[in-house]
């Protein structure tokens, strides 16, 4: 009897392990979103105190995350857009399907590539910076000093990074779409003979589909919230020592990467399943 129980336990071990892993991630996600909620709530409660200090911090974050992130997004969007346009034009022309080039590019760039690549760049540039900065602030006693001055760290430290992050990731993603579709065409103009009027007509027509923008906006907002809540969370996990900072930063980056990529894939799969089922029903 005992040995059969032991065998069952052994057989169920992978299931147990999977369950534990899933629950660990669920609890972590709850903590990340709790941090987001607390920072938004703190600003709501302190709205009489919503001073220029907080606004100044938000603008500073927009500058660091958004403005300083523009050159790399510009270069990446041009290269990605050019590659996608070149491939689309050469392959679709082979099978005579150049009418759907616009739709293909918009589907690829708007729904998939722009939100994901922008998020990856922001993780590399800004999630590392936020986790390191907050970790150092904890180790230096700056967070405690803010509390001692009656300044809520959720509203003064976390909120500006979240809001600045959402605005910046949104702006950078739009920027990516624009330069991938326009700049990419200009770069590849010498390599193909597509009439620009035709190209921009089909692209604009495809851009008019609202469901693509819904997925784009959903991904942009969730990516930004995840990146900056995760980076802030791990930064604030540092206790008293500077040697904890690189560990916190690495954890933040790895967690951001895995959650952002998983979410982008998951959101696309669910989106298309729902879209296909609606089309079938119609």
């Amino acid at each position: 009897m005992a040995s059969s129980r032991s065998n069952i336990a052994k057989c169920l071990y992978p299931v147990d392990l999977l369950g534990q892993t899933v629950m660990r991630h669920v609890y972590l996600l709850i903590e990340f979103f709790e941090l987001t909620f607390l920072s938004l709530r703190s600003v709501w409660y302190e709205r009489p105190n919503y001073s220029r200090s907080i606004l100044g911090e938000v603008l500073q974050q927009i500058y660091f995350i958004g403005w300083l992130g523009m050159p790399i997004i510009f270069a990446l969007s041009l290269v990605t857009g050019a590659a996608a346009i070149l491939q689309a034009v050469s392959q679709f022309n082979l099978v005579g399907g150049h009418e759907i080039i616009g739709q293909f590019l918009v589907l690829t760039i708007v729904r998939e590539v722009a939100p994901l690549l922008t998020a990856l760049i922001v993780i590399a540039r800004s999630a590392t910076a936020v986790a390191t900065e907050l970790g150092n602030m904890r180790a230096n006693g700056e967070i405690e000093a803010l509390q001692a001055m009656g300044i809520n760290p959720y509203s003064f430290v976390v909120y500006p990074r979240l809001v600045g992050g959402i605005i910046s990731v949104g702006a950078l993603s739009f920027y990516f779409v624009f330069f991938a579709l326009v700049g990419g065409y200009i770069i590849t103009a010498f390599a193909h003979e597509m009439d620009p009027r035709f190209y921009f007509a089909v692209v604009l027509e495809a851009l008019g589909e609202p469901e693509g923008w819904f997925l784009f906006i959903l991904k942009v907002i969730v990516n930004a919230v995840m990146i900056f809540s995760i980076a802030s969370y791990y930064g604030l996990q540092v206790r008293r020592s500077h040697h904890e900072v690189p560990v916190a930063t690495t954890k933040a980056v790895m967690r951001c990467l895995s959650y952002v990529v998983s979410f982008n894939i998951g959101a696309s799969v669910i989106f298309y399943l729902v879209l296909f089922s609606i089309r079938d029903a119609l």
Binding site: N136, N140, G141, M149
Partner: protein, 226 residues
């Protein structure tokens, strides 16, 4: 802001880093309207006690009472009117590293919107002058010498005009002239009634000589003696 007239621990237990209990089931009424020296062996919990008095560490049991109100049960927003009347000078820095000395001093005033920008500027400028920080007011904490850092920390703890001032080793790294300057400044503010209660953790006899009017001892990690 709320006037601070009494400070007390009731059946309070305080835990330091790594969950180590420094004070267990302590009942203590702090002397008020005095300049109090908090004395005790290294590691006996003097800094922890100061942090608990500032509301930065909550008792794991019992309560911390200001004016008879158990403030350890209050939320961050609920404790704010008390907190704005408490100045805290940290032992290890605490200056915001991304802000200059001037911005560090102006931050609490601007954040809590305690005056127009010109008033804030003049108040901060006056403190900067009193503490001899004029030459370094635009420098960041990483660019400061330890004595300037220490003076900036103490200056910032006074910027909200608190009634209760808690200073954790305020003279570490200061030269004799700066120590005397600080002692005179505290005595002056106390005599003019700008500061009501001052609690200092320090081992600098020269600084404390003639300054402290009362003494509390933290001993055996468990007991407070008046």
């Amino acid at each position: 802001m709320i006037d601070i007239n009494s400070l007390a621990f009731r059946a309070a237990s305080l835990q330091g880093g790594q969950g180590r209990t420094h004070f267990d089931n302590v009942d203590f009424e702090f002397p008020c309207n005095e300049i109090v020296l908090l004395d005790g062996d290294a590691g006996s919990g003097k800094s922890l006690l100061l942090k608990a008095m500032a509301g930065l560490v909550l008792p794991s049991a019992g309560g911390y009472f200001i004016n008879g109100v158990n403030v350890s049960q209050l939320s961050f927003a609920g404790f704010l009117p008390y907190r704005l009347n408490i100045g805290y000078g940290f032992e290890h820095g605490g200056l915001i590293s991304s802000k200059s000395v001037y911005e560090n001093l102006a931050l609490p005033l601007l954040y809590h919107q305690l005056g127009a920008e010109e008033e804030v500027a003049s108040k901060v400028a006056s403190l900067i002058e009193q503490f001899g920080l004029t030459a370094v007011k635009d420098l960041y904490p990483a660019e400061l010498s330890s004595s300037y850092k220490r003076l900036a920390v103490v200056a910032r703890s006074l910027v909200l005009d608190p009634q209760l001032l808690l200073l954790d080793h305020p003279t570490t790294g200061l030269g004799n002239a700066d120590r005397l300057l600080l002692a005179d400044l505290l005595k002056d503010k106390k005599s003019r009634g700008e500061l009501k209660h001052i609690f200092i953790v320090s081992r600098q006899e020269a600084f404390l000589d003639g300054l402290a009017t009362c003494r509390i001892e933290t001993n055996n990690h468990t007991v407070l003696k008046g």
